[in-house]
């Protein structure tokens, strides 16, 4: 079974530039998550999708971050404009969906490491 795919693996940009990350979840997984992981910290949930609808985006800085999930499968996360403090690893995860707890187990991609200079 293929895992969660993310691209690019690395990205270096200057502050005030824009950047986008792409995620392809495991086939059949209804729920998709984006996390931000700053060096030395645990992942922080930014947004959760159930199919193509947003379930939780309470920690997404909406003035500069946006995300969409195309047709309930792939997803993109965009930052516009980037700030120095956005330097982090952006992780995508997917799970089967809601219902039993087993369906909530998340499978993570390798992440995109963003450096903002």
């Amino acid at each position: 079974e293929a895992g969660v795919a993310q691209s690019p693996r690395y990205k270096i940009i200057e502050k005030r530039q824009s950047v986008a990350f792409w995620c392809n979840p495991i086939s059949g997984h209804a729920t998709l998550y984006w996390y931000q992981q700053i060096l030395g910290q645990g992942p922080k949930l930014l947004i959760q999708f159930q199919n193509n609808g947003v379930v939780d985006d309470s920690q997404l800085p909406k003035d500069r971050f946006s995300a969409e999930r195309l047709k309930g499968v792939d997803s993109t996360l965009k930052i516009q404009p980037a700030k120095l403090e956005d330097s982090a690893v952006y992780l995508c995860a997917s799970s089967l969906g809601v219902g039993t707890l087993a369906k909530n187990i998340q499978y993570f991609g390798a992440g995109t490491r963003l450096s903002v200079l």
Binding site: V4, Y33, G40, Q41, G42, P43, K44, L45, D56, L91, A93, L101, A102, N104, I105, Q106, Y107, F108, G109, A110, G111
Partner: protein, 108 residues
């Protein structure tokens, strides 16, 4: 505000010993708690999930306990091996609030 603390940033133990990692939380009542392993440059990998009404869960050399009164979970790795060296993260509840992780190093 909700707070999740994992014991010491780093833990070094000798091969064959039992590693015990701690996850403490405040101002939160999660229905369940999960433990993940993260290797450098990789995403977290799910290890175990324990519900609030379960005291203990085991999987091979791994054991997790969950004490909702103490607001604490303990994660044990018995007969540790150098391959167990990684960062271990606890994550609470459906909103997946992660601790900062504990970096475990098992020395041969």
């Amino acid at each position: 505000s909700q707070k999740i603390e994992q014991n010491s940033e780093a833990l070094n133990i000798q091969e064959g010993k039992t590693a015990t990692l701690t996850c403490n939380y405040t101002n939160y009542s999660p229905a369940y708690l999960q433990w993940y392993r993260q290797d450098p440059g990789r995403g977290p990998v799910f290890l175990l999930l324990i519900r609030e009404n379960e005291k203990e869960k085991r999987k091979e050399r791994l054991k997790v306990t969950f004490d909702t009164t103490l607001k604490q979970s303990l994660f044990h790795i018995t007969a540790s091996q150098p391959a167990d060296s990684a960062t271990y993260l606890c994550a609470l509840g459906q909103d997946m609030r992660f601790g900062a992780g504990t970096r475990l190093t098992v020395k041969p």
